[in-house]
Amino acid sequence: MSPKPGHGVRAGLVLAMSDIFEGLKAAFWLLVSLDRDLVEITLRSLQVTLSALVIASAIGLPFGTWLAIRRFRHRRTAIAVMNALMGLPPVVVGLIVYMLFSRSGPFGVLGLLFTPAAMIVAQVIIITPLIASIAHQSMRELWADYHDLLISLNTSRWQRIRTLLWDGRRALLTASLAGFGRAIGEVGAIMIVGGNIDHATRVLTTAIALETGKGDFALALGLGFVLIGLAIVVNLAIHRLSGTEREGRW
């Protein structure tokens, strides 16, 4: 007797649904019990991403602001390059950083490959152009708005920069948060340069990729919830910040 067509498929579906349900239950339990692996991986994710964010902001925010208010010969080229870098596929960034830090590469002697440091380097490369570009756009708008007044008030260059940074602080914070959002969810580059080594370079995204591959949905989902939670918090913050900024425009 042959089974009805489609029967096996439906059975598989039921199995998968219950798997996911079991996974959800287990994930929830991992979360509320503050599972040691889950906490460790989450903290490492935050450590790597926040380090990259501080470095990328320290480079990207002043650079974007500088591009917005200084006129120089190759400004347009610089902006075009910055925007092009923003579109770099993270996997390619990972490959490049891997080659730079691999034993035979120019920075091989540092021995940083498969350490969090290499992951930070990769993330800095990925998010600095993004942060600089967003900062550039909003600071350019602010500068166009303020230009005549600040010239008329006879401000020094330093006073101008301070005024723009202060009044543009929300926009700059928004730029940084966008960088954080991009970095925390990135997987391709840090997988390549970090190697997803347990207790060393395993972070939220790489762990999810691994556990999913192994079929251990509980940990994967638990990590996924943490990641989604972080992403939601960051996006709410961005929304609030850009929302309050726009209020004044009505």
């Binding site: 005549d148 008030l153 005024t163």
Partner: protein
Amino acid sequence: MVETILPLVLNGAVVKRRGKRLIGPIDAEISRAGFTIVMGPNGSGKTTLLRLMHGLERLAEGAAVWQGTQIDVQKRQAYVFQNPIMLRRSVKENLAYPLLLRGAPKSTAAQTARDWAARIHLENALEQDATMLSGGEKQKLALARALIQKPDVLFLDEPCSNLDGRATREIEELLLETSRAGTRIVMATHDMGQARRLATEVMFMLHGNLHEFAPAEHFFTQPGTVQARAFLKGDIIE
């Protein structure tokens, strides 16, 4: 320190943008006393002339000569733009800003800002975001932020162009008071009634040239050119 940075003398002053002449050559002298109104049709060069005098436009030819050192010249004039530029800060911080730039102590700046807010009837909006004010309130705030610098010379570009009667009257009163207190005012307007109420002399711009420059009573009663006569009558001039 000199007593005043006036008179301002324009000698064949020309402003160009991408090689195209916007205004000039202009020869004129802004004397020590008076209330100068700049008139003329749209696009005749009123704004460019004010910006040129204030130092916001680079001269392509000619010169604009003030008295005194460059520092004095820059510090002792203020400008109110046609579309008031509000700092994205509170009303109080907008008023205090020029004072803080000049190194005034915070408490002094805050007190002076409060006094000025009261003068323009914004004392209840001190902590409000300046970008949220109405058009008339913004214009008053921009004017107060200029006057708080105690300038020798005040430039205004059509400060009442988008305001209703009451806001216009408030601003005119403040300007007359300022003028009586000795501040030299140069103001563009295309409101004929306002020009008659305020002017002691009129600069009439046409096609980027200073077409006529005369005492107010002279300009309004017996304009020297056909075009000025037509403009005063309200005819369209090209």
